[in-house]
């Protein structure tokens, strides 16, 4: 137990910044490269959760609670987005029977 507190005490804000930047970038790359829309969707969630980690870390670091309250708002909004997004997916799946994004290329410039 003591080891863990010592270890976490050695973590600076830069570690959190690095962690969340990496997670955020993984999310961005996933959205850009993946072709299955459920996975794209999960990558968007990953981006939002990377932001949540950073907000919580900043909030603790600055001693300002409002960051943590903002995390709650992000989580709730993300849940609402999940609900709408999944509803859209179900609607599309009923019409075209696949979750591959390449099937949707009726609209092209």
């Amino acid at each position: 137990m003591e080891n863990i507190t010592q270890f976490t005490g050695a973590l600076t804000i830069n570690h959190y910044l690095f962690l969340s930047s990496v997670l955020f970038s993984i999310g961005v790359m996933g959205v850009l490269l993946r072709r299955n829309f459920i996975i794209i969707f999960m990558c968007v969630e990953l981006m939002l959760n990377a932001v949540n980690i950073l907000l919580a870390a900043f909030s603790r670091y600055n001693g300002n609670q409002s960051g943590q309250v903002f995390v709650f708002f992000i989580m709730v909004v993300a849940a609402a987005e999940v609900a709408v997004g999944l509803a859209i997916l179900v609607m599309i799946f009923r019409n075209i029977r696949t979750t591959d994004i390449n099937a949707l290329k009726n609209l092209k410039w």
């Binding site: 959205v31 900043f58 670091y61 903002f70 708002f73």
Partner: protein
């Protein structure tokens, strides 16, 4: 402030009227409700204090933009009642979602805290994802909905990361405190400018500026036509208003970090939007690309950021919204329900449909910026703002862009007055639809002849 509460209750009321199947009551409730909301909003003109524990600052800027959005939504509701005249089932839900979108837009114009900005954007966007896909069985509409959803969520991610970095540096979400921090700090840390860049990218996505515009034409074409009109007017107005409010109140002192990038975005948006619009053969796509180019013009006052900016943005948004709503209304009158609307379907419109033709002419002239219509003075004020800050190159490029614009805005008109191969039958319209067309014509002319009635509102 009361407008916010009133509109939320109105949204719920409409949902329940729809759920209990009182079809006759829906449209009157919505219209009376919006008119009441407009007056409630106007009554807040003198209110200058912040409300909701400093979360919202309902100043003149917010009141004017909210009024503009309420009027646009009102006109669009009337168009929608014509659009859905034969289709009853989900109309109440669609109206309610439009009202919720308006609430999001209201928050986006009146926020004084970044949390409220985020919540406003999300209320607006989440309702729009559903509206874009409101024709469930149409694959194009589904596709538009999905693309808009993925892009919107992606953009929110960037915006949030930017907000987080700014919170980390300044230790506050409050606009006034952030602005104090910027003023007091000699050398801002890199994290702060990274945050500003990420917010800039998020906003560029939301308003569809080049190079983050690629979703716009697809979504605009796939969505039901009156939702496209909604996205091109109310949503764009709200996005630009929020963009300006944030950058004016917080980041105006540090334009070194974002000025060059916004310059490139702005110029690229104007040029690419106009040039690509020339090549379109489909009406909705053409209007979509034209709306991309108008986003570019609307970015110029943000780039200039002087005391003329807010009035230029407001006047331009008003002129553009009214002209776009009229143009889309004509398109809805022509199209019934199909998604592919080739430009030549305007052919022979002029002979039997005088009101629609006049509306088409006025809206296209206004969008192209031909005097004495509102669109011309919109562009004039925008260029004036830019000149005051010495942005001569931007003005030159924007003028070249508008000259290209005149070419493609005349295409539908040429078709409309071309009677070879027979003219169109008289199109059946109803009172609400004609009212919108007349209102569009009158407002475009009125704003053009007396530009000062709206110009100085935001202060």
């Amino acid at each position: 402030m009361t407008t916010l509460i009133f509109l939320s209750l109105l949204g719920f009321l409409v949902l329940f009227i729809g759920a209990f199947d009182y079809k006759k009551l829906i449209l009157p409730t919505v219209i009376i409700g919006l008119i009441v909301a407009f007056f409630l909003n106007a009554m807040d003109w003198e209110l200058t204090a912040t409300s909701f524990y400093g979360m919202i600052d309902y100043n003149h800027y917010a009141v004017s933009f909210t009024g503009l959005m309420i009027v646009s939504v009102l006109l669009l509701m009337l168009v929608a009642s014509y659009h859905f005249r034969n289709e009853g089932s989900h109309i109440a839900d669609i109206y309610a979602l439009m009202i919720f979108t308006l609430i999001g837009g209201l928050l986006m114009t009146s926020f004084s805290n970044l949390v409220m900005l985020f919540i406003g954007i999300e209320i607006l966007s989440i309702a729009l994802y559903i509206l874009a896909g409101s024709r469930r069985l149409n694959i194009a509409s589904n596709e538009a909905s999905l693309k808009y959803f993925l892009m919107g969520a992606f953009a929110s991610g960037f915006l949030l990361f930017g907000i987080t970095l700014i919170f980390g540096v300044t230790n506050s979400f409050n606009l006034a405190e952030i602005s104090d921090f910027v003023a007091d700090t000699e050398e801002l840390p890199t994290l702060f400018s990274t945050g500003v860049m990420l917010i800039l990218i998020g906003f560029a996505f939301k308003i569809g500026a080049v190079p983050f515009h690629f979703w716009t034409p697809d979504v605009y074409q796939g969505a039901p036509t009156f939702i496209t009109a909604f996205m091109a007017t109310v949503v764009k107005t709200a996005g630009i208003a929020a963009f300006y409010r944030l950058f004016d109140s917080c980041f105006s002192g540090i334009d070194g970090t974002w000025f060059k990038i916004l310059w490139i975005i702005c110029v690229a948006t104007i040029l690419l939007g106009n040039i690509t619009a020339v090549m379109q053969n489909e009406s909705k796509r053409m209007l979509a690309w034209s709306s991309v180019s108008h986003a570019g013009y609307l970015l110029i006052p943000i780039l200039a950021l002087n005391e003329l900016s807010s009035s230029a943005i407001f006047y331009y948004s008003a002129a553009y919204s009214i002209a776009s709503i009229t143009a889309f209304a004509v398109l809805i009158g022509l199209s019934k329900f199909q998604n592919d609307l080739p430009l030549d379907q305007y052919k022979g419109l002029a002979k039997n449909n005088p009101i629609m033709t006049t509306a088409l002419v006025v809206s296209m002239f206004s969008l192209a910026g031909i005097p004495p219509l509102a669109g011309f003075f919109g562009k004039y004020f925008v260029f004036l703002t830019a000149m005051q800050s010495g942005l001569i190159y931007v003005v030159v490029i924007a003028i070249i862009g508008s000259l290209i614009g005149i070419y493609y805005y005349f295409k539908p008109l040429i078709y409309a007055f071309n009677n070879e191969g027979g003219s169109l039958e008289k199109i059946e319209t109803n009172f609400a639809f004609n009212f919108v067309l007349m209102a569009g014509i009158v407002l475009s002319l009125l704003l053009g002849i007396f530009p000062d009635i709206l110009r100085n509102l935001p202060g």
